[in-house]
Symmetry: C2
Subunit: 344 residues, 2 copies
């Protein structure tokens, strides 16, 4: 298996990306294609004692900036490391790609180069959010902002179900529809229409769920429009930063508190590790004709390594084939059911 890694993506690229790629190459059996300006990457690789690791450099003369407008990145940077990664998949030279770069640009570039899977009308970005017990998949978190119709939410549910089973290894993932209350009568006109569609789908649908279910372990997959999902994801990131800032400020005011924190260091580390997105290896784009995992911009080398592992699982578990199959079957089934309803 070959994974293309966008060496120029992320706040700390290419340093941590190169390091993460080497960690992955040392631990896993697959080949890493490190994509970026060759001269720069060679400089970074010199720092490592590369032996048998399977790492190749693939040259890309440009790279997408973290705050670049996606449409500009798609059109004006055709030789960016992101473009090259996607083209490596398209041409069959790579099986998957990993980038910790500009999320919106990665979505736009991978969609435009790789296209959609058969039966998918809206690819979705799925985020893996730590919960009380393990992690919940929230999708869409930004590929479709405010434009999702009920049938798109149905597609998200099916794709999230497959990812939860195949990559996160859950048996019968509980799928919830994000709404403002659990009752059937609660929600927007879109979610109210989506509810009966999801009930007919061959998934373990648990009905409407509220925002708290994303983190309390009450659902394995939560589907929503990309506008809501993105707002929640950004809120969560901001809240986490705020939380640690406020706690640090208070701790630093007192010597006994500082000593206390030292004593509790191990427990606090276990705590932060448990809630760390790094363990889940980044956000997959579901529904495109290729495997693309987007890491957090602040990804550490370990997070990059995790994302590479997840990308390989995405491929080896044949997630995309399952998505196409499931969407096809479901669409036939629901059409038949809708017809039978009409005939009654």
């Amino acid at each position: 298996m070959r994974i293309a890694v966008d060496a120029m993506g992320g706040d700390n690229a290419p340093g941590v990306v190169v390091e993460g790629s080497i960690l992955a190459a040392r631990e896993y059996p697959f080949e890493i294609l490190l994509v970026g300006p060759q001269a720069i990457l060679e400089g970074y690789l010199k720092n490592y004692n590369i032996g048998k690791e399977k790492i190749s450099l693939i040259n890309a003369t440009q790279y997408v900036l973290m705050d670049e407008i996606p449409a500009d990145a798609v059109r004006k940077k055709r030789d960016s490391s992101m473009h090259v990664c996607a083209r490596l998949i398209k041409s069959g030279r790579a099986d998957a790609m990993v980038t910790a770069g500009n999320t919106a640009a990665a979505l736009a570039i991978s969609r435009s180069i790789l296209g959609k899977l058969k039966g998918v009308s809206r690819p979705a970005l799925a985020s893996i959010i730590p919960n009380m017990n393990d992690a919940t998949i929230l999708l869409d978190v930004g590929a479709n902002a405010g434009s999702c119709m009920p049938e798109h939410l149905l597609e998200f549910a099916l794709m999230g179900d497959i990812y939860s089973r195949e990559v996160l290894g859950k048996d019968k993932p509980r799928i919830g529809l994000l709404s403002v209350g659990e009752e059937r009568t609660k929600g927007s006109s879109i979610t109210k229409e989506a509810l009966p569609l999801l009930e007919k789908a061959p998934i373990n649908f648990i009905g409407n769920v509220e925002g708290k279910e994303i983190v309390n372990g009450g659902a394995d997959v939560v589907v929503c429009d990309g506008f809501v999902g993105n707002a929640i994801l950004k809120f969560a990131e901001g809240a986490s930063v705020m939380f640690f800032h406020v706690i640090k400020t208070e701790i630093n005011r007192s010597l006994s508190a500082k000593i206390g924190m030292l004593l509790a260091k191990k427990a606090l580390k276990a705590f932060t590790k448990k809630l760390d997105y790094e363990n889940y290896g980044g956000a997959p784009i579901l529904g495109i004709n290729g495997a693309c995992i987007i890491g957090h911009g602040k990804s550490s080398a370990n997070a990059i390594k995790s994302a590479i592992r997840v990308a390989s699982e995405f491929v080896s578990r044949d997630v995309n084939k399952s998505i196409e199959k499931s969407l096809l079957e479901m669409k036939q089934k629901i059409d038949i059911q809708l017809l039978s309803n009409e005939e009654e």
Copy 2:
């Protein structure tokens, strides 16, 4: 001033509500009308040594359950403590009401009994969310789920601006429009249309903001559709519960961590106090013809006291008069500007 308090609202009602009302009556100069089944409330009041405090009991034979369907509560419980509170305002016997009961029912009942303010098309529920420095108002958080048009978001911005100035005491509140990116081109079709309206409004509008701005102190007021706001609010509550659960579990595994936490106790208390919704006294409903503050279901006696104080400020600062005036002026101004644009 007279504040009607729904003694039966909240997970720990009537105990903590009675206690909070007495705390308020002892500290503040206004009169409390404690509303609920008289016999029950008399039993609770017996436990207190009531002296000069101005507390009166108002009988209500019914009360709304925390999980009752709002429409049922409105129609079938016309003598509920919530209904009676709202009618006390309507008849001029109370200036404001406070409830920590079923939020959706409180919204429905207060709207149906008190009606809307002149110029308001959609009342909104505003939540006060602790941020890096103080607190940000997020609205709407559930009065309108998925049905907000651009002009409704404009109304929310104007109402949030007034509440931020008059009750939270901010000078020139920075108002943001929740979206999926700061660029003008980002967002749903609704937020894209709302953007130019907000730019024309006589407020300190800072443009599109992301979810993180709700907590990082980058905005004083963030406006959004009630579906998104509610999802974020519920997510925040769930995340906070999850966070403390996970940290407690890890701490309890180690003796040194437990000792450490004891040493840091004061700092941790300061930290939780800083992030405690209790300090902000509950969520106001903006845009109805009356002052109604909704406390958290888990409100402590102190939180009830805060909510009573906030209710009195809502009245004494004449928030509703300002809202009517502001909406009227703005609507005239924007109409004129739209006309002048068309004439160009």
